[in-house]
Symmetry: C2
Subunit: 291 residues, 2 copies
């Protein structure tokens, strides 16, 4: 049995995986001051109660991590944590870690028919993971698949959280979608409810042919198609998998991206398979357990 932990801003999901299948899982609240104490105690309690021998514990970290050293988890407000040291206080089980999007990519790849996939996750921000021949590509600086920071948007000068402009994340994320809707709200007719503005509200209205909603959907989809062209000409994966909260709008986004791929894709890869993520919220735990 292996354990995979997917740490999020609100809760940490703790899953137990056997033969690549999630057999049990639970959540605990994310408490900044006692985060890893809470996680390891919960795991110890669970394995003692169920008389389980764990092979390993993998962590999906919402932030920068390299060799089990966490530089930063901005949404939780924690910095500079030596995860090896932390773990040794509670367990002798071997641990491993990478960022949460990499974990989700590994999980999705496991349940995919392909051996080389590029995963893009569209949430508050935009991240990704590259799995080549069933193995995660981490990269020299542990920043492979920081795809949200691809230079791709040439029309706006939105400043990204990373300090640069032109980043995919400034468009293809819930923050980007909301911003686009606000910026163009006087240029297109709309019934979007700006009091309850979210990427879901924008895409829900696009499904009803709302002009502003359609403009934003088209803009986001074309930007993603250009980004996918660039991913394909850079490494030519077998499949692009798109997940994250924004992608939960149904087929409308992926269908639009495919339409634009036909227009802006490189001939060899314009028919690349683009598929929705299958595992939803479980991908992070499953992927983390595989580390």
């Amino acid at each position: 049995m292996k354990c995979g932990v997917d740490i999020g801003g609100q809760s940490a999901k703790i899953g137990f995986v056997e033969n690549n299948k999630l057999v049990d899982s639970f959540r605990i609240k994310t408490n900044k001051d006692t985060l890893f104490c809470d996680i390891f105690n919960s795991i110890n309690e669970y394995i003692n109660k169920n008389n389980i021998k764990l092979e390993s514990i993998g962590f999906g970290i919402p932030g920068n991590v390299n060799n089990n050293y966490i530089y930063n988890m901005p949404n939780i407000g924690l910095k500079n944590i030596d995860l090896n040291k932390e773990a040794l206080k509670y367990t002798n089980i071997k641990i491993n870690s990478t960022n949460d999007a990499n974990c989700a990519a590994l999980g999705e790849a496991l349940y995919s028919e392909y051996s080389s996939i590029y995963f893009i996750t569209l949430g508050t921000g935009c991240g990704g993971g590259y799995v080549y021949n069933k193995e995660l590509v981490i990269g020299k600086t542990h920043s492979a698949a920081e795809i949200g920071h691809m230079f791709i948007d040439y029309k706006h000068n939105y400043k990204c959280t990373c300090g640069l402009t032109g980043c995919l994340e400034t468009i293809a994320s819930s923050v980007g979608i909301v911003r686009l809707a606000k910026e163009y709200k006087d240029k297109y007719k709309t019934n979007i409810d700006f009091n309850n503005l979210s990427s879901k509200e924008v895409f829900d209205k696009a499904k009803l042919n709302d002009e502003l909603g359609l403009f934003v959907l088209n803009y986001v989809s074309k930007t993603l198609a250009l980004a996918i062209r660039n991913i394909c000409v850079t490494l030519d994966p077998e499949c692009i998998i798109i997940g994250g909260g924004v992608a939960e709008c149904g087929d409308i986004l992926i269908n639009k991206i495919k339409e634009y791929m036909n227009e802006v894709g490189f001939y060899a890869s314009k028919n690349i398979d683009i598929k929705p993520a299958k595992l939803g919220n479980d991908s992070g735990m499953i992927g983390a357990s595989l580390l």
Copy 2:
């Protein structure tokens, strides 16, 4: 002993490689009508004369090739060649092939201290090769590292040979450099000799602080820096290696790219090693022999 053949528009370079070292090589003229007959006959003659037992023959193809089937070699004017069938007319030695930029990447990777490199070649066009853990990444459609077709230039509407616009190749290639110099010649003071216009002429004048030359050098370097940012956030290689005729201008281009990486690069990879190719014209033969 292994043989590597690097086919070019003017000549085919045939090299003999032992323990990863080029021990002998010669060129034959590229004759469209008798290309593979000439190549195999030359190889047979050489190995008979020198009493050599060859393990394999690898081909670097200037065009689209997949599983030893050549779809197109536009600069030579040949299409739809079954290289396996062709080879069997002359030899029983096993053959393999990929495109010429991939071969050059393999050769450069072999002589590099890194195990994962991204190679960019700047010639008439712009191509590349991605070597991950010392192995070539070919990609699903055999178009990994068709990096010349990355969407990156947002200011011009130059149409690329592939039919798209915005391609890196429309800027970062000898064709692109010459075109930029012509387009901006009335906007900047210049001593560039337009009767002998080439990328070398433009960069040679840039070295003398020619205003137009510097404008083009800066524009090409910044575009390459943006492309390298995108390569790094996509797969985070250990090193970028830049080769090809355009890069033979000396340090001026790579130094400028590094300057711009500091401005437009993602923080994790803005200090990525960017190095000039080491093997010059031999990289294709050496890489082909490794296939």
